[in-house]
């Protein structure tokens, strides 16, 4: 079925191919019906912001850094870093993971932004061999992603995000930082994941089955990327760490975010496709996800943006119907050793 001929929700853009979706008689999807009956966005954001503000105040000055920021160099994590430094005055460590596919312009942005904000910046590059194998295996082997993650993210991004999240928490434990911040926006995370007091022992318990799977698929070295040693947790001195996603407390359109971060010298890369502002591999993840599951992995995210009034339905439609073709992705496929027969 062509992406243009699919039945979609008349309010957002979720397609009939989206897992477990249902529509009412008027063609409104289950998620939009639920949204209409939920807490108004302004009140929800205010409530989350108050919780976050209170947690930030309690955490300030407790470690070498107040906050570890997962800083991809993309527009959203750049805005997050800027917001925490300029509006909250937090002592942040900005951390970028070079996944072997960071656009040259995005890397320049990382240096320009951290320089402009005067924050410490850490660049970590895991072995290219490991990263490429991880991406290839994530595509070729089914069942790595949980079912609920399939709704929100491609298999390639899912493995990368898990690695990044784990590294950020590990760094927070090492530096005694009480907060880890991400630049996730609405739809990229489950609702109420905008601020989580994460129980570290509980997290490791949940991750156990996943870790075994990762070890068997990605090799024994994967433990250093996906596992946190018990000693590190014990030395941290408390059993929880606070994860915040401040973008979920502000209502800004993509254009407004780009305009704000532009003041720090951030320039939009032109080689990262229509849905990423830092990673050159993203489009391959999208193309494979679409081929395998028959919906674009950004459907849920842009639909949430439409519901929140941060993106027009036309713009959202433009994004999700613009599925990259494999013929344009030869560089990425070759680099991770993926053949068309693998897909």
């Amino acid at each position: 079925m062509s992406v243009n001929n699919i039945k979609r929700c008349i309010k957002c853009v979720l397609p009939e191919t989206f897992p477990n979706i249902s529509f009412d008689d008027k063609g409104v999807c289950y998620f939009c019906q639920e949204f209409i009956n939920s807490e108004p966005i302004v009140i929800e954001q205010k409530r989350i912001k108050e919780l976050m503000d209170s947690e930030i105040e309690k955490s300030r000055g407790k470690g070498e850094y107040d906050c570890i920021v997962a800083f991809s160099g993309g527009k959203d994590s750049t805005y997050t870093l800027m917001h925490l430094v300029q509006n909250y005055g937090l002592n942040c460590l900005a951390v970028t993971i070079d996944n072997d596919f960071i656009s040259e312009q995005a890397m320049k942005n990382c240096y320009a932004v951290t320089e402009a904000l005067g924050v410490d910046f850490l660049l970590f590059k895991p072995s290219s061999t490991f990263m490429r194998d991880m991406y290839k295996t994530s595509v070729v082997t089914g069942g790595i992603q949980s079912n609920s993650a399939i709704k929100r993210v491609s298999a390639i991004c899912n493995s990368c995000i898990n690695l990044i999240n784990n590294y950020m928490i590990k760094l927070a434990l090492l530096h005694g930082a009480p907060i880890v911040a991400g630049g996730y926006i609405g739809g990229q995370l489950p609702k109420n994941a905008s601020m989580i007091n994460l129980n570290l022992i509980q997290r490791e318990q949940i991750k156990k089955p996943l870790l075994e799977k990762y070890k068997s698929l990605f090799g024994a070295t994967s433990t250093k990327f996906f596992f946190i040693h018990e000693d590190l947790i014990n030395n941290y001195g408390k059993s929880t760490i606070t994860i915040i996603n401040p973008m979920l407390t502000v209502s800004l359109s993509e254009e407004e975010i780009i305009s704000a971060v532009g003041k720090l010298g951030w320039i939009k890369p032109h080689d990262t496709g229509s849905n990423s502002s830092n990673c050159r591999l993203n489009d391959l993840g999208i193309a494979i996800h679409h081929k395998k599951h028959n919906f674009h992995p950004y459907e849920f995210e842009v639909s949430e943006q439409v519901r929140y009034g941060l993106m027009s339905r036309d713009e959202a439609l433009r994004k999700v119907t613009n599925v990259p073709g494999f013929s344009e992705l030869g560089y990425q496929m070759e680099k991770i050793g993926l053949l068309s027969t693998n897909i």
């Binding site: 477990n20 489950p190 994941a193 509980q202 997290r203 318990q205 949940i206 156990k208 996943l210």
Partner: protein, 89 residues
């Protein structure tokens, strides 16, 4: 007419299958299956699950509820909600 426990079970089952995209059956995924161990719920999923339970049933879950394994399967979740709602009513 459904009993209170049956009602809770239906609501939780409906949430789990819709949110985590699976169906219960008599062989592979039963009401006693550990949904974390089987890879159906991940760490983000656990946030969704806790939010659902706390909002829908107006109860507060503790770390102990998680660490004791009370949230691992449909049956254990229903039992936990039943205990907590009886305790508050």
């Amino acid at each position: 007419m459904l009993t209170k426990v049956q009602e809770i079970k239906e609501q939780v089952q409906s949430f789990l299958t819709r949110q985590f995209l699976f169906e219960f059956d008599e062989r592979e995924i039963t009401p006693s299956t550990d949904l974390f161990l089987s890879g159906i719920i991940d760490s983000f999923g656990s946030v969704e699950l806790v939010t659902f339970i706390e909002t829908k049933f107006k109860i507060k879950l503790s770390d102990e509820d998680f660490l004791s394994g009370s949230l691992k399967s449909l049956n254990s979740i229903v039992k936990l909600i039943e205990e907590k709602t009886i305790n508050v009513s």
